[in-house]
Amino acid sequence: MTRPYTPWLLVTVALALAAIYLFPLYWMYVTSLKSGSEIFANPPTFWPRSPDPSVYPAVWVRRTMPVYLWNSVVIASGVTAITVILGTGCAYVLARYRNGWIDVGLFCVLMLQVLPASVMITPLFVGFNQVGLLGSPRLAVVLAAAAKAMPFFVVLVRATFMSVPRELEEAALVDGNSRIGAFFFIVLPLARNGILVCAILTFMSAFGEYIYSKSIIQDPGLQPASVGLSGFLGPNSTDWNSIMAYSAIYVTPILAIFVLLQRRIVAGLTSGALK
């Protein structure tokens, strides 16, 4: 039915589309390897004349990137820990029952999922100020960002729990396990992969968190890498090879994790996000 050459034509078109779509990423890496004058060459060179990675160590030191990246890791870890610990249990219960209360709970979670951070930041900032949380700004950001990340996590992990057969848990209960025992030794291990993928997604999005950190953290020693990047980025920036090198250092770990786990991440998303 299909002519033999069609698939290869399609593959070529697909690769071309992917290349166009991923061009911005390529441009980031290429720009970071160009010299200061080559950046402003007209017409631009699509491959650097003499690739020069020396801007990487320079930016790393000059922009105190270790401090920024460490803060990003601290914030993202905190957000992931809170989200996973609180969200997993919530998702489990929401997947286990079907009644009016569960519908109300799900509705609340879905509503919270849609709140823009720019709506929440003003009341959170004033509220944190009153409670005195602004004294430990990273904790404040972790709490705020965890509340933002949790609804999405709950929706995705709930789908994972739905795919764990109820009979296995019931069998464990009949065998004399307590609810706690059945949860920790039967249900959690079966849902482990799904939870792990969602936790990684949570970590990656918290790693790039910007608006809460920018608004709440004033001390440069505690700010994450996103705020560090915004420090030399604006409508009139010109230092493009440094900016692109900074961006490359910042996103390469995320991209590497994503490419490694691509299959699982896509599967986790498609099973949870809509179905």
Partner: protein, 300 residues
């Protein structure tokens, strides 16, 4: 007392504990701030009353003041353009790509997965990269458009008042395109193949099959994708500080960024809260549509 602990360990108390902990956390850090936001929008908030809960009430003064701001209608118009432009672009391109990748060819799933890279990248980095691509004098987009003969002279995407909002829209389309495509692909994969075969036997051409099978079968998916797109677009913040900072002269400012500017650059928290309450009402409408269109799917 022991009955209480028993129930926690081995009864419905266990469920209540699990769901209660998460709900308390969410109420404290999302529900309460939301109500507090509404309260603040009716109060006079300045540096002296910032630390107090009960501030002088001013009724609708903040709302009146916000609407009377000279930039109010400009920001409203920009928000509409931004939402409609981004959603249209993301949806049309996402649907086209989803249809393309629904063909059977080796590596389709893997290549499609690569597109999702944009979705995991920090918004600020995406903004930085596009800021460089869209730069007026040395940006690569202008060079490409010029060599294709589409434009005669450079477009100053970020500093030309006619184009600044479109600069952010282009970056936002790139950012959200992949997620739209993924969700639409899931919907496409769920359509039974034999429907198409039957239609083909009946002599329907590709366009007719798309119009009479694909679109009607995708209705709930399309509803969910469009409302998620609306919500995602209203949530977009990071691209604005990276690309235009709302400028020049607010020509690329939208409600979310304006609210943040009022609160954190002008320290006018009452007006910031007022704008974000207005925006919340918009999000509320979108999310009702979203919940309605995914309800049966979420309940599984």
């Amino acid at each position: 007392m022991s009955r209480f602990f028993n129930s926690l360990r081995d009864g419905v108390g266990f469920d209540l504990l699990l769901v209660g902990a998460a709900m308390l956390f969410l109420i404290a850090l999302a529900g309460a701030p939301l109500i507090y936001n509404v309260l603040m929008s009716f109060q006079q908030v300045d540096m002296f009353t910032l630390g107090a809960l009960m501030r002088p009430f001013v009724g609708f003064d903040n709302y009146v003041a916000v609407v009377r701001q000279p930039e109010f209608w400009l920001v409203t118009r920009n928000t509409l353009i931004f939402v409609v432009g981004s959603m249209t672009g993301q949806f049309v391109l996402g649907f086209a790509l989803a249809l393309f990748f629904a063909q059977k060819f080796p590596g389709a799933a893997t290549i499609r997965g690569l597109f999702l890279v944009s979705w995991v990248m920090p918004g600020l980095v995406v903004g930085a990269i596009w800021s460089w691509i869209l730069a007026g004098d040395f940006g690569v987009l202008n060079v490409i458009l010029r060599s294709l003969g589409l434009i005669q002279s450079n477009i100053f995407w970020k500093s030309d008042p006619n184009f600044s909002i479109w600069a952010v829209i282009i970056a936002n389309i790139w950012l959200g395109l992949a997620f739209n495509m993924l969700l639409l692909s899931v919907g496409l994969a769920a359509i039974p193949r034999d429907l198409y075969e039957a239609a083909e036997l009946d002599g329907a051409n590709a366009f007719q099959r798309f119009w009479t099978i694909t679109l009607p079968m995708m209705r709930s998916t399309i509803g969910a994708v469009l409302s998620l797109g609306l919500i995602g677009t209203l949530q977009q913040f990071d691209l604005f500080p990276a690309l235009t900072e709302g400028g020049p002269a607010n020509t690329s400012n939208v409600a979310g960024y304006w609210s943040w500017q009022l609160s954190f650059q002008l320290y006018d928290f009452a007006k910031g809260a007022t704008v974000s309450v207005m925006m919340f009402l918009l999000v509320l409408i979108a999310s009702v549509v979203y919940v309605r269109s995914t309800r049966h799917e979420v309940r599984g």
